[in-house]
């Protein structure tokens, strides 16, 4: 059995107990990547093996000296390629950032490094995190380890596939409208989108700044809690970073949900939801009820308005955030051009992919003169109403339970042609970002094609502990396998 079959915390424990060296763990990750990348393609950049082993050696030394003693010290990690890493190419899976080597490291990754993480590579994603299949990457599609003909979901598809394929112990993803939770659902792994402002966005290449959050992707809830604890921090470099005192998420790992109140939005179980997903999620709710949680169906309201509001806000912000990619300061510049504006237009048109251009254009349009009020402001007002609906719900419930996606992973190549249909797949995830809430996704079953089904638990702002506790309690009832691939790939 590969060391990569262990959870991050298990591996960390073995390293601490000197049963495994950091170099051995790193070597296991590098070997797994070598063996599986050709079929899965989780990574945009895999680090040089010698460099990884050198870093592993340093971490080993620090562990021995006692300067590193956290649960993740020495454990190999993969980082989504939209987080800046000093000296390591960072592309956002876009041609426009080809050749870009950041001169600084994002705060979340820095926090991981201080916890003794050993980075093995940068994972593939939908270009600039725009998409839900990881098919819009300029560096090839990532495949779902459970069935290579299916997508891993997105946009953190590379991170989720890498964890599912056991190419690393855990990974960092980012979630703007479901980009951690949906691919976790598709790949049968566990991930958390924290409350907005919990993890610093400094160094995260922005898609929708008011929605983006970095979060963990791992094999189980325990790992996620430990990782979130490591990456969360108040950061003076991020004005939207929140000062929180309750970042001891691992303290919530208790197998006890007695008396906790779960709300199940009726609207989440309407048309469009795959029957098998519905059954698995309902069964999970039953499991929690059996463990002593109180369960009630309720009307959340405004569910269908979250998607249009989300796309207006995210695309508007993206159109501005992505303006800096212009061929002047870094990344791709077109070869032949006549004058400044032609250089801009050609560099951007050649550098961005179809979906990114689609969203930039939509975003530019909804902010343009004459449409700002009708679209952008209306979307921000809708967001306020949606937030109110959640406030109301959380005055009654500790956790909202539902699916993370209406279906299991679709086949490769079947999603991109109809954007609206693709956006509808985000129905259970985007409102969480609009309202700044924390959400966790963990596996709760398989469909008849052998593809994982995800369960989503949503908490009130700053109440990650509620969803971690409930997810942990649910997970304790399961003996599902963490990865499909150890024997198949």
């Amino acid at each position: 059995m590969s060391l990569m079959s262990l959870t991050a915390v298990e591996l960390g424990r073995k390293i601490k107990a000197k049963e495994v060296s950091v170099q051995e763990a790193a070597q296991a990750a590098m070997d797994a990547i070598m063996a599986k990348e050709e079929s899965v393609n989780s990574f945009v950049t895999v680090l040089d093996e010698q460099e990884v082993l050198n870093r592993a050696g340093q971490v080993q030394k620090m562990i021995e000296e006692g300067t590193l003693n956290g649960p993740l010290a020495g454990v190999p990690v993969a980082v989504k390629d939209n987080m800046c890493t000093k000296g390591i190419p960072t592309t956002c899976s876009s041609k426009i950032l080809s050749g870009f080597i950041p001169t600084y490291t994002s705060e979340a990754v820095k926090n991981l490094e201080s916890a003794g993480a050993v980075i093995v590579g940068k994972t593939n994603m939908d270009e600039f995190a725009m998409g839900s299949t990881t098919e819009t990457s300029a560096y090839g599609v990532t495949k779902n380890p459970w069935n290579l003909e299916h997508v891993p979901g997105g946009s953190s598809g590379g991170s989720c596939a890498a964890v599912a394929a056991e190419e690393c112990s855990y990974a960092l993803g980012s979630d703007t409208g479901g980009s951690i939770r949906q691919p976790c659902s598709f790949c049968g792994v566990t991930g958390i989108k924290p409350t907005y402002g919990t993890v610093s966005r400094y160094g995260l290449i922005a898609y929708g700044s008011s929605l983006d959050q970095i979060g963990p992707v791992a094999k189980d809830v325990t790992d996620c809690a430990a990782i979130l604890e490591a990456i969360s921090s108040y950061d003076k470099k991020d004005s939207t970073s929140m000062k929180r005192e309750d970042l001891d998420f691992t303290s919530a790992l208790k197998d006890d949900v007695k008396g906790m109140k779960i709300g199940i939005p009726k609207d989440y179980f309407g048309k469009g939801l795959d029957k098998q997903v519905e059954n698995a999620v309902s069964a999970a709710a039953k499991v929690l009820e059996d463990k002593g949680a109180f369960i009630e169906e309720f009307d959340l309201g405004l569910v269908e308005y979250a998607i249009p509001a989300y796309y207006v806000i995210a695309c508007a912000e993206a159109s501005s955030n992505l303006a800096r990619f212009d061929g002047v300061k870094y990344g791709y510049r077109t070869k032949d051009y006549e004058g400044l504006h032609n250089m801009y237009k050609k560099s951007r048109s050649e550098g961005f992919g179809t979906e990114v251009k689609r969203r930039i254009m939509l975003g530019s349009f909804v902010l343009s003169s004459g449409y700002y009020d009708a679209y952008y402001l209306r979307a921000l007002r809708t967001k306020a109403l949606i937030k109110k609906e959640f406030d109301k719900a959380f005055s009654k419930y500790d956790v909202i339970l539902g699916p993370a996606s209406p279906s299991t992973a679709p086949k490769l190549g079947s999603s991109l042609s109809d954007p609206v249909k693709m956006y509808l797949g985000d129905i259970y995830t985007v409102s969480v970002n609009l309202a700044g809430l924390p959400g966790i996704c963990l596996p709760c079953g398989m469909d008849d094609k052998g593809l994982p089904i995800g369960l989503q638990l949503i908490g009130d702002c700053f109440k990650e502990k509620n969803i971690i506790r409930m997810a942990y309690a649910y997970e304790c009832t399961k003996t599902y396998q963490h990865s499909p691939l150890s024997d198949r790939l």
């Binding site: 950032l97 600084y104 008011s210 991020d238 501005s320 800096r324 212009d326 002047v328 300061k329």
Partner: protein, 479 residues
Amino acid sequence: MSKEYETVIGLEVHVELATKTKIFCSCSTEFGGAPNSHTCPVCTGMPGALPVLNRKVVEYAMAVGLATNCEITRNCKFDRKNYFYPDNPQNYQISQLYLPICRNGGIEIELEDGGKKTIGIHEIHMEEDAGKLVHDEAEDVSIVDFNRSGVPLIEIVSEPDMRSAQEVIAYLDKLRLIIQYLGASDCKLQEGSMRADVNLSVRKEGEAEFGTRTEMKNLNSFRAIARAIENEKNRQIDLIESGEKVVQETRRWDDNKEYSYAMRSKEDAKDYRYFPDPDLVPVFISDEWIKEVKARQPELPTEKLARYQREYGLPEYDAKILTGEKKFADIFEAATEICGKPKKVSNWLMVETIRLLKEHDMDPADIRFSPVHLAKLVDLAEGGTVNSTVAKEVFEAVFTDDIDPEQYVKEKGLQTVNDEGALRSVIEEVVKNNPKSVEDYKNGKDKAIGFLVGQTMKAMKGKANPGMVNGILKEILSR
């Protein structure tokens, strides 16, 4: 023909604030340095970098707002102004559109006929400056330097209340003075720390509606502003007179050619898609904070003007000139504090200092001498240690080299000679050698004594006590 027309002018004045660091990062705002040396990921628009607001910028903006009678917006926000240009690293500028920090103010200016007029201030907002583009003519390329990118600016937008170039200059002068007093900026037009864009339209006398306006950029001196206004006014009147329409556009002034041209480009949609910057949180300004900033507010020009007359008994004319330049006021107060002779200090500033500034083509802001040295000079002159001619000579040295007058006078032996015996023998000599003048004087030509005094001073190398020379001369001549 132009008499039938009225010119309507509003100004957008950009002022670079005197903070040590940029508005959203810790890079230095210092001038100079190699290209791109004062830069970091934030002010160069690196992917993933985020802005954090410099508190001092808010305080300077508030101070200027309070000093110009504005209302302070208690909950103000930053917006992104989206446009592509290489000096703008993010391709959006962080500015304020929807909720600027100050609104509805105004300052009073003095008109040429002595009357007064209030020029309204529509709003003041905070924003970041752009980088610098250097054009390489030979290679047909431009080079971007981001050292100035992110330097804090306030933009002061006036109401269209001005009607002539004179009013514009008076408004700018007053604004500059207030801001310099506050220490919020040095406001140098030539160096670009103060920049004015002129919005101008014309309308027939008596018409209620404004005409179509143009915006004029690249005005680097008061002279350029005055010339551009005159030129644009005439251009618009000519257009209207010949039956054409004024087009709303931005024009660039070329002061060498005394001509402006439209900055038009089909790649320029002028649709800035402003929206609240999601990376920055709102600024809430409490009563306490306003009180704090107010309490730190120094005395402003109008208050100083009244005080100089009241406290130092200066004539209004003197007080106006002294308070009209922050540097004058600073030197005046410091020197007076030491020597206790306000009128004398004022005279040195108003006569000799202004003369020398003109002679050296300098601004008052460029004055380098210490008020201590001016005070010492006043004491030397008033105490009779040096006579007025010598004092002027010493002052020139103070002005150019900031010398210590006491030491200078001692080293150069410039003390006035008060020794009556010595003076008397020199004067006897002068009288003996100039019989013609003595003759003239005795025949009633009083002026002739002036020549004899001059000759005596010349013989004494200027150091004689002029009062004593006069007395002794008269006594000898009356013999």
